[in-house]
Structures are given as structure tokens and as C-alpha cells.
Point group: C2
């Protein structure tokens, strides 16, 4: 019981650490939704700056969350893709989206 709790807190903090910051999840979501180019991703996330997107993409690549490919001869020269590791966040993201949506509905209903 006691140990179990510590383990859970640990697991939570691990997850929070990997998903840390304002932009990680929106970026993952955007890429998983079919945006693969830098500007495409940028436009799909309201409020993000070029600088933040650039930084986050770099670190996420280091952390194996996404894969960046550069191919001068392809129609899309620079392409960002999600890795299987990244996709393992699917359920987490889904639940968060679900919560966010119902939260909004709740607020609208109460106003």
C-alpha cells in the first residue's frame, strides 16, 4: 500500500517530466494528426513561436519521441514523424482531450 503509492507518484512524475512544458503534447498531437512539416505544425498550434517549436522538436528528437528526416529530393524535404514510443502516449492524450472537452462543455452549461 505504502510502496504502491510512492510508485504511483513516481510514475506520475516520470510522465509529467517527459511531457513537461506547455508544448510537448500539442506537438505530439499535431504530428500524430498528420502534420509533418515545420510550418504546418507551427500553424496548427495556436500561440506557439518558431523558437519554441524548434527547441522542442530538437529535444523530442533526442528523446526519441519523434523522427526528423531530411531528403532534398523528396517532395517534402524536411519531415517530422512520430515514433512508436511517441504513439504509446495515445491513451494518455486521448483521456486528456476527453477531459478538456467535457470541461469546456461543463463551463458552457454553467454560464
Amino acid at each position: 500500500m505504502e510502496r504502491n503509492q510512492k510508485e504511483e507518484v513516481q510514475a506520475l512524475q516520470d510522465t509529467l517530466h517527459v511531457l513537461g512544458g506547455k508544448w510537448r503534447l500539442p506537438i505530439i498531437n499535431s504530428i500524430c494528426n498528420g502534420n509533418h512539416r515545420f510550418r504546418e505544425i507551427e500553424r496548427s498550434i495556436p500561440g506557439i513561436t518558431t523558437r519554441m517549436l524548434s527547441r522542442e522538436l530538437k529535444e523530442m528528437e533526442l528523446n526519441m519521441l519523434i523522427k526528423r528526416t531530411e531528403d532534398r529530393d523528396a517532395e517534402i524535404q524536411v519531415k517530422y514523424e512520430s515514433t512508436p514510443y511517441c504513439k504509446s502516449f495515445g491513451p494518455v492524450i486521448e483521456e486528456m482531450i476527453k477531459w478538456g472537452k467535457s470541461h469546456r462543455e461543463e463551463i458552457i452549461r454553467n454560464s
Copy 2:
């Protein structure tokens, strides 16, 4: 499709905002796990300081995430409880714990 995406990003950012910071989720988890006293919660979350716990609890009370009751004659004078609203995070938290745990296992397996 396009609108749907914006809505999802919005929902994600809403959720992130409410759960923002390093400590919210661990605190919710702790309270939901049966810790109801200030020091109890504090001890259950490694690394948190009195100040941060105090601050977070206050704001979470304002946001209706938790309920604080003071009763001088009860055996527990000050008690923190989760609200139904707070409990709506259950699925989100569960998924995050699940991810964190399997992530740890993964790392151990690969080392």
C-alpha cells in the same frame, strides 16, 4: 478535420493548464489515495516543500479541485478532500501512471 484538430489542441491545453505545474497531479493522486492531512500529503510526495504544497492546495481549493474543512472538535482538525470534479481526472491520472510504469520497465529492460 481542420476544426476538429484545433478543438483537440484547445482541449489538451485546457487540461494542461488545470493540471499545470509539477505538483498538481501528485497532490490529487495523494488525496485520492487516502491522505487527508497536510503533513500526510506532504510526506507522501517526495521533494515537495511546505510552501509549494500550501500554495497549490489554496489554488486548488479556489478551483474547486479539492475541499478544505476545519473542525476544531473533530479528530482530524484540518481535512483535505477531493471533489467530484477532481475525481473526473481519474482516467487521465490512471493512464499517466500506466505510462510512467511501463516506461520505467522499458528502461530497466534496455539496460
